[in-house]
Symmetry: C2
Subunit: 267 residues, 2 copies
Amino acid sequence: MERYVHGYSTEEAMRLKDQAATLAHLLHGDLRYPEGATVLEAGCGTGCQTVFLAANNPATQFVSTDVSPSSLATARQAVLARGLTNVQLRQGDIFDLPAGQSFDHIFVCFVLEHLADPAGALRCLRQVLKKDGTITVIEGDHGSFYCHPETLEARRAVDCLVRLQARLGGDALIGRRLYPLLVEAGFRQPEVEPRPVYVDGSRPQLIEGFSRNTFIAMVRGVREQALAHGLIDAPTWDQGIRDLENAARPDGAFCYTFFKAVARGAE
Amino acid sequence: MERYVHGYSTEEAMRLKDQAATLAHLLHGDLRYPEGATVLEAGCGTGCQTVFLAANNPATQFVSTDVSPSSLATARQAVLARGLTNVQLRQGDIFDLPAGQSFDHIFVCFVLEHLADPAGALRCLRQVLKKDGTITVIEGDHGSFYCHPETLEARRAVDCLVRLQARLGGDALIGRRLYPLLVEAGFRQPEVEPRPVYVDGSRPQLIEGFSRNTFIAMVRGVREQALAHGLIDAPTWDQGIRDLENAARPDGAFCYTFFKAVARGAE
């Protein structure tokens, strides 16, 4: 199954865990839901965000869904390992949500990038959101990446992710589109903010946690797919990876921007 | 004189004024110097930042220098028009600062991008900074720009700025390099933060003030230079500008990141 550019191997699961630990604080460490609220986390994957959300909001009930049974099994282990009792994991498709149920809030993180019809997915989610409730959407944007020193080969390796995502029907540049997508899907008052990750020599933990173990690891992960699709040749790819590693040093710099949107349900 | 990519025509002076009004708050609206301190503003140009700095810090003395007599004349008018009495304007080159004088703090905004030897300029500035003083450096990075919808033509038009700046000996991608440059120049404890400008349909004032009157106006300003240097053909350029304008609409999005660095003088 080659539906996603990333997310389905064991190595990938470890990368996602590292990524979550570094990024959860930046992306939704400040997110607090009311006591007693019920929150739908649509597309929870292996539970990377789930465990942080549930731990940060112990008096909130989470219903976390994903289409993949194997991802859900990993998520279940993560939830159990942390002794969290406020998470219900359910198999389910965003485009086929149970009718009649509605949620106080919705949380969607790193999901829309994979979908051919993100506005349609948002419309489906709007149907199950109470009108005073909020939807929080967090996505990256690979076009926001740049580094120093930067080379053509480094750029081309990163572009492979964008082109692979596009071939699989997704959009790795979706972060910049959150506002028009939420408007199109009928949500009210969308507010979008960039959440930049900037890494230089004064931030060795981010060099490790973000530049190397999140970003470069993610790029590395699509080598075989990129070569198989003929998007790049092996020498260029390998040089690109070396150049990215070169920028992830104390005298280099790495920049990437995530986008976080919050909007309200329909009247 | 084609030393700078931008900054020397009357239209450009108006653009810079609009830009300053929109950006000064974002970039250094929070900058407060101690009462009685003397601050060197190196490369003040037409005084766009000067007047904001001086108004925000009325008990601080500013010595604002520039190499260009005509820019200084414009700056003088701006300072007089606002009745500011805490600004001394002086002609001078960063690489030829008066020996023996030292300053409590230094401020440099949109200057290093134009210089062939930014680290050398910073070393010169370090010589006139008291050891407990700070240097504040603010620069853009045109490689940080992206928009929605984005086209190849829009990208190519923006790339012309980067390539022109490079041909003139500067670096339009300097924002990402501030940390290594400050380290190289011998400053202590540089702290760099990205200051992103994100524009969508919920921010009509930024569509006007930033996307149209700052960014697109700046790109437009180099049309003849770009064509004369053979960097692009006219139809591609014109399409690129139309595409940028198309992204500066309520259903589009614009992203750009400035960088602000603060570092301390040498021991």
